[in-house]
Symmetry: C2
Subunit: 634 residues, 2 copies
């Protein structure tokens, strides 16, 4: 048994998350690292309870076999959430603290914005949490701050470049970009050569460029209307959703409408999540497309000379952060891209490091955002495609509450009391709702993994209801279906789930199969995914058609597809519960994150900047200045 | 001799800063900490070369005597800078590595924005630098990112509150602010009691408030025109200087003109620099005034319920970051407020910790931004007033180049070649320019400290020129005047300066005297400072008069004054070199940072958001992805 395992004393009823988190003294993170056979040169400490594990660990352990790879998804949730993060943590506490397995939990870093808004933190819940929860939810080791800095440096560079190009001749621009040195000689630097190559100019001496080549090189000729790059901030600031910039007198009337997204919506976050090495990150950041030239050609960060600087800003962010669960098992926290306009999964490098650290017979459990129709689908078709990693088991988290909703129960609204139907036995409602679970099971099984259903038990659930879900899960082809109570009991409440996951991993009979190949058209790929939703057809808006044509022409049709769809239904309509079918899926627009490496069709409108309520969480948050402890964080 | 001292091999001519920085392998920061008698529980590591020293060290060493306290200012500089940071570092390398003294250098954290713009880094230069210079210039330990987050959370809260107040009745607002709990009971939380107290309401049960009291409590009634709080970003983004926000459809037409400053211009940065403890920081952050009610009363962060959350975001930022010089002496990097709209000095807590760590006979050398007319003046009258610390010696850095400019030499422009006059001997020009040095000496002496002039020698300076400066310095009352060459030789080049500073510290004969007492009027304080500039009178704009009246009425006239004036002249006119006198100083506007604790009159227009040039530094910055090393940073 691992030396870092900590026995929990559980109380009933379950105390508040923060009280549970504060009741446990975390181990020094070097002890957690040591149990993973990490030496001090493998990681950088960030205080006593966090450490960044260096990417070089992957190279060092290259010859070692990987552990089992488990992804946790969920059924279509209610607005209250069905405990996917909590189950991910609880399962790992069971594997590590009760089943004597090497295990690493891989989680996303939450955005700091919602911590002060409505939602509160995201470190799990009850007796299945990552600690210290305030450090998990705030700043962590600065990765999101680095993304904000890099994203906004690029944004500033775009507008400033348009400004400078508008006031300078080709020759003046060129002279500034390639100034003479002390000896009067001009030269191109490294990043300029990548632009020259793209333009088909093979000359190496700036003096030899023709006036036409000078113009092509020095003038990006950005079409302001085409700019897709927005600024970001890790704060819920709704007043920045749409703004006009450049109204200062020095900017000479060069105003432009744009806006801010929350930082985790930055393409740089998606790059961080999908990258596989420092050199791969350098390349992806350099090839991010922020808009087109007036001639319609895509313009990249490297065209602007900024890909290297962005990489420098992100060089520490690429190392995942090691933390611990309440029961002393290790956690890697890394990246947290949006689950709609991006792929909603934690990072590839964290999973890779974790798989080497646990080694053969160990377990890496990673969470996929939203319902399995989105989270698990993107995990398979985008993340595993780029990582080359193969999962053996997919967990699908279900609750009686959500299944009743899918069976026709009344609407569930956050902040309002639950309807009577959700807290008293109603087996028929549960049975009817299992149609949602069944489709998630069959969709997920199609990837070639074994599916284990985790029924996250609430105190109001009846035996008959729970048993109905188990029956439905087996009928739909689940490898196993297990009732668990990790919220109330920690790892002990997920021991059966841990055993089931272990068996599922050890008994894989099929290879990994993607839902679609990359070499078909963008539309064919969208169709393959839509079919998995139950759609019978697709309707493209004019704008979507235009964008698909443009991206195809620009040579980006080989990329995987990342659907931006509501998580509250298989369909585009959040009110369609259960397993809708025969509907026409509307594609409103199509965008792309070329550096991250995917095309994202928009099914409906996605908010990328949350707001604050009248009484935000921050009213309750304070520092006890005597102890230095955070209070009121939920 | 300290065990961490590292012998430098100096090359001639002096290589590029980054090459010198990269030629030295830094010690693990725990070794530097150990030499200061810090145990691992006194600090948190942030990687191998940075550590945050915990504030608790001050309490633990409370009984211990302080070391000598030395402030480094400069004469009125050229736009190229006269090497104040470099001299600060070089002096410490001399004291620590050659004179066997306990020494700590206290420096400001530079803004990350200019690192990618024109300026490059700020870690010193030549053989007097802080290393690793990339970590010094980028992210550091996240303090500026924390400031950005806190500043912008407050900004978002202000606009959102106006929005919610505009759409809700008093009763609805109140019900949302004090919602009933599960038992149907309402209660005020801690932060609400501070607002109730301010409003003179002593009731503790929300149900007992009269409708009039409900209105007063729940409705801040912010006057949008009065909002002084701007958003910030640590990026040179000129297009954010003036913007219109709230143009999204959900914000229902509640548009407003505002803008972004660079993060170091945030009042929260000034708070960080001037705070003395966690509880003091909590108090300052809570009493920051962001605007007025429509009735003209100041509204604070605590009125908005957010002071605690801001403190939580800043809780780690209050701990200074320990780094090292090229010669292995310790450096504390902490806070970097603007030197015009704020006071331009590093933090009080870093200086306090440092003074205890070096103990009696040790030295703490801290830098004051801009010329001594601004930097040293604010160091004395604002920083020392709040800290209660007493400096013994003030260093004034001078260069032959700047003195020639003051003597009537041609204009010095960054990026353009220096005029012939600056690189050939011209003793008369130097002698004429010493009038500037002389006024800085007499102004600084008036505080009761001994003044040592550090003549930062360039290779083009002649013996006669250098000697003219020494003579002028003594004539003006300097304790000593020393020629130094730390840029070319590291600490060895500043040994004489170190000896002079030591003697100056050991021979103080006078107590510290402030330039003005706090209990006179705002105008009288402004006059006292203007007189030290050589002004014969002051002209207040109508706006300035209005603001002074308002701040006086609001009860803020007891605060010290922080002049926002150009550093390029004693006067308001940057072209007036030497020691102008008899001019009328115009006060265009008067603003206040109530939480930080000063009133700042604006003498002219101050840019609080820099821009990027056509070819920013970022073109040269990249990551060597094989070694993980930053290249091209200057």
């Amino acid at each position: 048994m691992s030396k870092t395992v900590r026995k929990l004393q559980v109380a009933s009823p379950v105390p508040a998350d923060i009280d549970i988190a504060n009741s446990v003294e975390p181990l020094h993170i070097s002890e957690i690292a040591q149990e993973l056979n990490l030496s001090p040169h493998h990681y950088d400490l960030y205080g006593k309870y966090k450490a960044k594990v260096l990417l070089s660990v992957i190279d060092e352990l290259q010859g070692r076999g990987d552990g089992y790879y488990v992804v946790v998804g969920g059924i279509t949730p209610t607005p209250l959430g069905e405990g996917k993060s909590t189950t991910t943590v609880g399962l790992c506490q069971a594997l590590g603290a009760f089943l004597d397995k090497k295990v690493v939990t891989c989680l996303r870093q939450p955005s700091q914005g919602p911590t002060f808004g409505i939602k509160g933190g995201a470190a799990g819940g009850g007796y299945s949490q990552v600690i210290p929860m305030d450090e998990f939810n705030l700043h962590l080791t600065g990765d999101i701050h680095a993304i904000t800095a890099a994203n906004n440096l690029l944004a500033a560079a775009i507008d400033t470049r348009i400004f400078h190009e508008s006031t300078q001749s080709d020759k003046a621009l060129f002279n500034r970009l390639c100034p003479p040195n002390k000896e009067g000689k001009r030269s191109f630097n490294n990043i300029m050569f990548s632009r020259l190559k793209k333009l088909g100019i093979s000359k190496t001496n700036p003096e030899e460029l023709t006036p036409e080549e000078v113009k092509k090189f020095a003038r990006l000729d950005i079409d302001p209307e085409s700019i897709t790059w927005r600024r970001v901030m890790d704060v819920n600031d709704r007043f920045l959703r749409k703004i006009t910039i450049g109204q200062g007198p020095e900017e000479k009337g060069m105003v432009r409408e744009t806006g801010f997204d929350i930082s985790v919506a930055s393409e740089i976050m998606a790059v961080l999540a999908l990258t596989t090495s420092l050199s791969d990150m350098r390349e992806r950041l350099g090839k991010m497309v922020f808009g087109n030239s007036k001639a319609g050609d895509p313009i990249t960060a490297d065209d602007l000379g900024i890909g290297g600087a962005l990489t420098v800003l992100m060089k520490d962010a690429i190392n995942p952060t090691l933390m611990q669960t309440l029961e002393g098992t290790p956690v890697l926290v890394h990246a947290g891209p949006f689950a709609n306009i991006a792929h909603g999964n934690s990072s590839i490098v964290a999973d890779k490091i974790a798989l080497k650290l646990v080694g053969p017979d160990g377990f890496v459990v990673t969470e996929a955002g939203f319902g399995a129709d989105i989270g698990t689908e993107k995990f398979m078709n985008i993340k595993c495609r780029y990582s080359g990693l193969t999962p053996q088991c997919a967990v699908i988290v279900a609750t009686i509450r959500a299944l009743k909703m899918h069976g026709g129960g009344p609407q569930v609204v956050a902040g309002k009391p639950l309807d009577h139907a959700y807290v008293t036995e109603n087996v028929a409602l549960v049975e009817a709702g299992c149609i949602n679970l069944a489709r998630h099971i069959s969709n997920t099984k199609a990837y070639g993994v074994n599916v284990v259903v985790a029924i996250n038990k609430f105190s109001t659930d009846s035996e008959a209801e729970l048993s109905a879900v188990r029956d439905a899960a087996f009928a739909a082809g689940a490898f196993d279906a297990v009732i668990c109570s990790h919220h109330a009991h920690g790892g002990k409440g997920a021991v059966d789930l841990g055993i089931a996951v272990q068996k599922a991993c050890e008994n894989v009979t099929q290879p990994l199969r993607f839902l679609y190949p990359l070499d078909i058209s963008i539309k064919e790929k969208i169709e393959a995914i839509a079919k998995s939703y139950g759609a019978s057809g697709i309707e493209y808006s004019e704008q979507a058609e235009k964008q698909i044509e443009m991206y195809s022409k620009q040579g980006f049709s080989h990329l995987p597809i990342c659907m931006a769809k509501t998580q509250y239904s298989f369909s585009h309509d959040a009110s369609q519960k259960g397993a809708p079918s025969g509907f026409i899926l509307p594609i409103r627009d199509v965008r792309a994150s070329i550096g991250a490496g995917f095309i994202y069709p928009l099914v409906g409108t996605m908010s990328t900047m949350p707001g604050l309520p009248t009484r935000p969480c921050f009213y309750d948050i304070d520092l006890d200045t005597t102890t230095g402890r955070v209070i009121g964080l939920s």
